[in-house]
Structure formats: structure tokens, C-alpha cells
């Protein structure tokens, strides 16, 4: 890419970079939306998801520290995002644990990092690496635009299913409801920062690439959840039946 894209063209390019690898298309997301997962499988999801989203404020903390002081709005956004994740209302991970408990697992199991899959560990490590090593604008593109902004569209599909097909109560699925509003704000603010601060063709190209990689990482993570917890169980059941 040799020329600077206009804001509108850059936004479209960012959206397209994410769209191709959206986690909405992963087999785990499709099984979830189809209502075919067991509570046990949803519990495994929660035990993994905690270790991906739990440190989100930590990831952003590294980006905040490395964001140049003159980018006041961007720094304020990162700080507000961290605050909202942790202490703005209920701590978001506490709501995830409430859902996990409704699925039959425990706070102790969820917070125990030994219960995450190697792929979840890879996604968490990738998030830390991006936060610590990338240009802070590129890191916002990867973590906020590439990952966080996908969440509302995923949860909009998954939340009604949790109530209607899996029989969870409103309070048990509050984690998902909440993210439809808060991540929509965070994702959109992330777009505004990236559109404003990625002001060279090189930075724009790096933002586009990291959005694509971030979406790939999330797809890899959810696909691995399917392979580790759904496909494996199906194979065991088939073997028993045979």
C-alpha cells in the first residue's frame, strides 16, 4: 500500500480485514447458535474464555503506558475501557463466572489457569505480545478493533439462544447482554482512534494486517474449543455406540 487511504476507505478496509475471518463462522459458534452444546461444553468455554478476556485491562494497561502523552483522547479511552471492564459496574469477569457456575463449574475451576487449552494460552500470549511490542496505534487496531469490536455481533446471536434453547435465566446470561452495549462503545471508540492516528500508509497497512491476524487468532481459538471439547466428545460417544 503506497498511498494514504481516506478515513472512509480505511474503515471499510478494516471492516473487511475482520469480516473474512469472523469468529461467527467457527464451528463452535455455529453449534452454540444451533443450541446443540451441552452445559458441560459451555462450562469448558467459560473456563477458557476467562483467560482470554480476564486480562483485557492488563493488555490495555501496557498499550496505555506506551501511548504517547500527546494522544490524550486515545489514552483517556484506554483508561475508560480498563475502568469499565473492572470497576465501572460489576466486574465483567464476575459476570462470566456467574454464567460458568450456572453451567455447573466453579469459580475455582474458572480462575485456575491450568484449565485453559494450549490454544487459549496462545491467544492470551498473542494479546500480551501485541500490547507490549506493537506500535500502540497498531495494538489498538489489533486488540480493540480486531477482537473487541467483533463481540456485539457474536453475542447478539448467542444470547437469545442461551435463554430460549438452553434455558438460562436473564441474570445467568448478563455477561453477554452487557457486552452488546459496552463492546459496541469500545469497538467504535477503537475505530475512531485508529482512523485518527494511523496517519501514514505504513501504519495503515500494519493496522489492517493486525486486524486480520487478530480475527484469525480468535477464529483459531474458537475452532480449537470445538475440536477439544465438542468433536472429541462426539468421537468418544461414537466409539461407545460402536
Amino acid at each position: 500500500m503506497s498511498e494514504l487511504l481516506s478515513r472512509d476507505d480505511f474503515r471499510t478496509a478494516l471492516e473487511n480485514a475482520i469480516k473474512g475471518k469472523s469468529a461467527n463462522k467457527s464451528p463452535f459458534s455455529l453449534a452454540w447458535a444451533g443450541g446443540t452444546l451441552s452445559r458441560e461444553q459451555l462450562a469448558r468455554w467459560a473456563e477458557n474464555h476467562f483467560h482470554y478476556v480476564g486480562p483485557f485491562a492488563d493488555y490495555l494497561g501496557y498499550v496505555y503506558a506506551r501511548m504517547p502523552a500527546q494522544h490524550v483522547e486515545a489514552k483517556d479511552f484506554l483508561l475508560a475501557n480498563m475502568y469499565e471492564e473492572e470497576i465501572g459496574g460489576d466486574r465483567h469477569t464476575d459476570l462470566l463466572i456467574r454464567f460458568a457456575e450456572a453451567c455447573g463449574t466453579s469459580r475455582e475451576r474458572v480462575t485456575d489457569e491450568n484449565n485453559m487449552s494450549p490454544t487459549t494460552r496462545a491467544l492470551q500470549a498473542w494479546c500480551y505480545a501485541v500490547a507490549m511490542r506493537e506500535d500502540p496505534v497498531v495494538a489498538v487496531a489489533g486488540l480493540v478493533v480486531g477482537l473487541e469490536s467483533q463481540v456485539p455481533s457474536i453475542y447478539r446471536k448467542q444470547t437469545p439462544t442461551l435463554r430460549e434453547k438452553y434455558g438460562f435465566t436473564d441474570e445467568e446470561v448478563e455477561f453477554f447482554d452487557l457486552h452488546i452495549v459496552s463492546d459496541e462503545i469500545h469497538g467504535e471508540r477503537g475505530y475512531q482512534i485508529v482512523l485518527e492516528l494511523a496517519n501514514t500508509p505504513e501504519l495503515q497497512a500494519r493496522c489492517l494486517k493486525i486486524c486480520e491476524v487478530g480475527a484469525q487468532m480468535r477464529l483459531l481459538y474458537t475452532t480449537a474449543l470445538y475440536n477439544d471439547y465438542v468433536a472429541v466428545q462426539a468421537e468418544v460417544e461414537e466409539a461407545i455406540a460402536a
Binding site: 469499565e84 465501572g88 436473564d170 447482554d177 467504535e188
Partner: protein
């Protein structure tokens, strides 16, 4: 596109928004009704975004469990939590600061 009329401390602000819009999300990204709409948690826990619906309330879905919990009897007076509403139609709302009520 839905038209939103927003009354705040005796002033009136009007703008159009896209269909399926949440006003707290809009305020969060610094678009109308920013900076007039007060909100905080964005998750139906604090009721900072509570608004009195003056017109268009009949087209909203019934209050959800969070609104019932936070607003109690105020629901009967036409109050709703803006963070819980996704708008597809015209609406008129009022949110005054306590000193101005």
C-alpha cells in the same frame, strides 16, 4: 431514520439516528445526544441514564428485568433506562439534573 428529541434542563436537542440505535452507545462514542445524556455503567446497574419517555414509549418493548429492578415504580410514570433501549422509531425523552427538577 428515527428522530430523537432530547430535553435536558429546559433545553431541547433534536437529531436523527440510524435504526437500531442505542443512545448510550452513541453518547459513549461522543455523538448526539453527547454530551447531554448522562450515563455511567452502560449495563443497567446504576440508573444514571434513566429518562422519562414523553412520546414514542408505546412502541418500545416492555421493560426488561434490569429496568424493573432499577426503576421500580418509576416504570409506571414512563421512565426507562436508555442503555437498555435500541431505537427503531421516533422518541421524545427528558433527563434533567436533580438540581433542575
Amino acid at each position: 431514520m428515527p428522530q430523537v428529541v432530547f430535553h435536558k434542563n429546559g433545553q431541547t436537542f433534536t437529531d436523527e439516528v440510524k435504526a437500531n440505535t442505542n443512545l448510550v452507545v452513541r453518547a459513549g462514542i461522543k455523538q448526539f445526544p453527547f454530551p447531554h445524556l448522562k450515563y455511567q455503567c452502560g449495563m443497567g446497574k446504576c440508573a444514571t441514564c434513566a429518562c422519562e419517555v414523553l412520546a414514542g414509549g408505546d412502541q418500545l418493548p416492555p421493560p426488561n428485568w434490569k429496568e424493573k429492578k432499577q426503576l421500580g415504580d418509576r416504570i409506571d410514570g414512563g421512565w426507562r433506562l436508555a442503555c437498555q433501549l435500541w431505537l427503531d422509531h421516533d422518541i421524545e425523552l427528558r433527563q434533567d439534573d436533580p438540581a433542575c427538577t
